[in-house]
Symmetry: C2
Subunit: 252 residues, 2 copies
Amino acid sequence: MFDNIRIVLSHTTHPGNIGAAARAMKTMGLHQLYLVNPRHFPDAQATAMAAGADDILENAVVYASINEALRGVAFTVAMTARLRDISIEVKTPREAMPQVLQEAAVQPVALLFGTEMSGLTNEEMGCAQLGVNIPTHPDFSSLNIAAAVQVMVYELAVAAQSFKPAVREIQPAPHERVEGLYAHLEKTLIEIGFFTTQNPARLMQRLRRLFSRTRLEDEEVNILRGILSVATAYNARLKKRYSEEHPDVQKH
Amino acid sequence: MFDNIRIVLSHTTHPGNIGAAARAMKTMGLHQLYLVNPRHFPDAQATAMAAGADDILENAVVYASINEALRGVAFTVAMTARLRDISIEVKTPREAMPQVLQEAAVQPVALLFGTEMSGLTNEEMGCAQLGVNIPTHPDFSSLNIAAAVQVMVYELAVAAQSFKPAVREIQPAPHERVEGLYAHLEKTLIEIGFFTTQNPARLMQRLRRLFSRTRLEDEEVNILRGILSVATAYNARLKKRYSEEHPDVQKH
């Protein structure tokens, strides 16, 4: 049922939380645990807190970077303590789950959880197409990470009971292809001097937001990168011609 | 908002779970924690896992018996791993919460959680008017107790957002009054020899089930206990007269 849904825990500090998250996953029938740079893993505390979900810990995949953990993923959901976010749309768990199931019916989906102290970085948030905020009391929003996993997988399991996959119109490109486009785009924008008067990080975030909403297909990534390549080549030709016609001007 | 809702943890083994439950409660705006005979409390592990919800631990009330913890409570919800139960109706958290809020609008409500290993005893289950089962994967239903608290208070908070209390028709009697009736009833049934051919425990459970459904009012408890008292007195008079008329027969 949930073979296409992975739980990704980034830079988890306490191994007990990894074990408790594994247990939470297993109670709701999820099995795919990905760990990005955990401080301690494997660890006896993780095993103790897993309390029988050892198989999930044993099969957990450990990576050094978020991009490796999201390889092949076409839809990433980022947990956030903020109700609004500059870079992506934010929903409640209950609102989000039908979409998560819809996506997972055809392609890999990741639910992404940040560190205990500070959550996800802006860079990690930028990898997501959707944010999810678990509503909490305004005076005390400090949800334990394994508790957050439990709420999410519980909502997922409840939603799945009444879920029937519908026909999907688009086939979104996987994470690494979209990230490749962003990198290419940023490089090109630097090259053409677009960022000189702007805040590059903020602007890239706005561009990510735009493309997150559209859900780019593989072919569209090809087209956009084609445009960037052509623009760069044209630029290079212009520079070359300029330096040939003005040999006395210093190259920059 | 949730001043009328208490979380009751019975015979909790691991103090870390008490702390994690307190933290879960506070994230959703609940504050009333009752502990029945915890193995270790207060405890450093509880405080560590509370992670800022120390006030809930400090104000936690510790009792030696379930009856003390339920004093004044008019509606008790028991967590159960079973989907069906002989003694009470069982709902999912989502189905149960509107009723919980409805009850809590006028009188104290308890959400009752059993031990890590074996859940609630039959005696404890018998104190409840409603059972709640968190649906889990059939192969692994071992939900951590703090995770179960988190799911319940999360569902409560979500339900509360759209909740408007309606007028309630009846005013149910508190726990200790209903238990007093059950004790009186059982004593009377033993006295009249009703249990000789039956399984008393099972029969009392069926009677509890019946009265749980009706939600007895205070005045009704008075009436029923009045009937029991009169029946007993009548019985005593019969016995007395018989022994006076047949002085040669040995009293029993």
